[in-house]
Symmetry: C2
Subunit: 514 residues, 2 copies
Amino acid sequence: MNNDLSVKIIPLGGVGEIGKNITAIEAGEEIIVVDCGVAFPDEEMYGVDLIIPDITYLIQNKDKVKGFFITHAHEDHIGSIPYILKQLNVPIYGTRLALAIIENKLREHNLIETSNLISVNPGENVDLENISIEFIQSTHSIAESCCLAIKTPLGVIFHTGDFKIDLTPIDEKVIDINRISSIGKEGVILLMADSTNVERSGYTMSEKSIGNTFRRIFRSAKGRIIVATFASNIHRMQQIIDASIENNRRVSFSGRSMENISKSAKELGYLHIPDDMLVEIDDIKNYSNENITIITTGSQGEPMAALARIAFGNHRKIKIERDDLFIISASPIPGNDKLISKVINQLFKKGADVIYEDLEEVHVSGHAYREELKLMHTLIKPKYFMPVHGEYRHLKHHKDLAISLGMESKDIFILEVGNVLEIKQESAKICGKVTSGTVLVDGLGVGDVGSLVLRDRKHLAQDGLVNIVVTIEKESYSIIAGPDIITRGFVYVKESEELIKELKQIATEELQNC
Amino acid sequence: MNNDLSVKIIPLGGVGEIGKNITAIEAGEEIIVVDCGVAFPDEEMYGVDLIIPDITYLIQNKDKVKGFFITHAHEDHIGSIPYILKQLNVPIYGTRLALAIIENKLREHNLIETSNLISVNPGENVDLENISIEFIQSTHSIAESCCLAIKTPLGVIFHTGDFKIDLTPIDEKVIDINRISSIGKEGVILLMADSTNVERSGYTMSEKSIGNTFRRIFRSAKGRIIVATFASNIHRMQQIIDASIENNRRVSFSGRSMENISKSAKELGYLHIPDDMLVEIDDIKNYSNENITIITTGSQGEPMAALARIAFGNHRKIKIERDDLFIISASPIPGNDKLISKVINQLFKKGADVIYEDLEEVHVSGHAYREELKLMHTLIKPKYFMPVHGEYRHLKHHKDLAISLGMESKDIFILEVGNVLEIKQESAKICGKVTSGTVLVDGLGVGDVGSLVLRDRKHLAQDGLVNIVVTIEKESYSIIAGPDIITRGFVYVKESEELIKELKQIATEELQNC
């Protein structure tokens, strides 16, 4: 083997942060990119809708980039694709379901004609010149999630994607432990693994475990059942559908993403529901309430999603009725607790009943807990390890976990966004940083809002603004009109007349002093 | 007894919301007020510092108001006192510790001279003309918290305050179960009880239970230990001090409220620490790191508090050193998760170790879980019940809990802020609403910011502002100068030259059309 061979791993997002997962892997003249996700703004990012990665490095090397390889179809792994494709149009490889969900997105952005989506089944390989990528069946809170075994001239890089070890998944597509074990036995130079739940001890419960809860709740419900969950969680949908059919309830989908994804998933055979058990939302009135289940978006309390609109009486088609039972089948993503609580309070106030995670087991996590992570490490036994998919605290604890399993600290690399991990025949090290960071999306604008604009918005948000308008004669500098004081978001003008008067006074004096 | 007798209970805050606890109880010509707390703004309340209750009703009836009766010294029960006293100067009754903490506040507001603070020991009564108020020893996450037995001409109203049933409290002042039982036996017309943790099953752990965790952690720590907790949690402080002394560590306090409260608590005998074990923060450098514990504010990740300043290198006196161990001995209040996580990430990045609730049992709740609530209900056996201290979901679940214990729905009252619960000899009902609501504090301004101002701030925050300045000749209406476009928080001007040019164009055309 050539001693000058090197492979570079460059996370352009997803390390030291939750969201915006995207990693470039470079071998010789080839770059492949794993995932292409978005992140969501925090409260300080006034007016920002989405955060996408800065892909300057990929554009600078665009002739090398052979494609995006998508582990699964969650927003934090695919959400930036429409924005990135406009800058860099390369093929996108993924499973059928992932591509169907991406297609919906591309259609909304009018990009479907120009894009090149290539379907790969779990178990199959994509062979490029230097690199070959194997998609391996995994389990997660979305169907057809995959681990990737990325075969480079220096050896195999194993990327877990987002995973849990679910041995009784709803679709019976068990995570391919045997294949993972073989790959581990053959030797892996680098493991990149999901760190989300490294702070939780034990095992996640199987998705199947909550089916029993649903069945018990559904049996005793008297009115409609309205379940809010993530639109992409097709296995959750299936369990809700199964419990509904058992209890002679027809199922309706509400919310754009829920309608789109359920339709695609049904067409592709991932979601099983007899046509006569499926009801359009306009037709639910033709059935009595105890024969209806509605599956809806808005499980994070998002003010514009279906659940919040139902709660606050703004939904055009669904009004709260007597004996309605709402189930919020999701965990609050950090930062969303208050939004969800507002919705729950409102539903209770309107007389509905509401079941959520604090009260019943209506949700399980899709990310591996500590014991599952240990199992993955033990199967793969990598030479080097790079924790991914987590804030710094998670990466740090994942490093500690690897050390507790026998790895040495020097072989574990916590990267920042843009850092380059260079692996050579006998060594690995972090060498430098490429251009990288965040690009903010505000409405139709991509990248025209940044820290200075946000700083101004913050000032405006906290203090409002005071405009002083005055007309001055050009030659004599005497005041012709004004000063007039116009304020927005400052104080109630009526109740602060004194203050405004004083402002005028000061403005006049200052002008005269000029 | 007079059949026209009536007692009114009017919550002016604290029901259907977390925070701002304040309730008026009116019998004949007397009104007493239980607590006087603040609430904290949510993210949508741009620029707002605090939320205080609208006490119009009390001011309209100011001759009746005999005083504020403080159950305990948490901000959500005492934080509005300085603002309210300026409008309504009546006596404040509370335990010595509560008054000491209130005194610190009043001193900052220059109100200490004019205020009338009256100390009451647990077990003592305050006798007014119609009403008599008994303070009863309770347990909570602050020392000397009390339940109140409010004896009215119609019978006893029992207000739990914030409580848990801790039978092994640090100060050995066990909640006075026997007295509560006697009061219950004598008959209670109305129970008002803390609903915070009604969604949690089982019992809270005793405060004492985390002492062992501290001791174990302290024994193996090599450098300084820096513990962040609530300044008012004197029992927590005591446990940290005890573990420190056992391990030959001197203790220093950091953060204004931590310094103030620890000083008051020590002087009053609530906090026990030998003088030679106490070190000023300026003097910690005289000891080796393994002999120092620092107790600090900022456990909620507040950007201006000591912990965040240490983490981000802005603390004047404390810099992170090798082997520093940070302990965050608190739960995130909903909405604060992201702030805390930022601080934790930063501490890890700087090489410190951090222990928090997800990893170790370094915090217990101060609010009763379901089994404790059931015990309280069973001891009191009230005629009527009004759940307090919670969002609507908590009040609703507390109502359900009371029903599960045998009460009838018609005897349970969920009130909104300002609602009047009128109790008569043979009946109770909600009758009407008094003026009430929220008053926003923004800097020095109290009440000069409201929904219209906030709406404008929200628009400014999300979109920024565009100012078009143009000078027009008075008679001919011709444009003399401009239009000039000035933006703040809109877009980067440099990178959006085209857009600005277009704006000018449109403005000119519109002006010419006028």
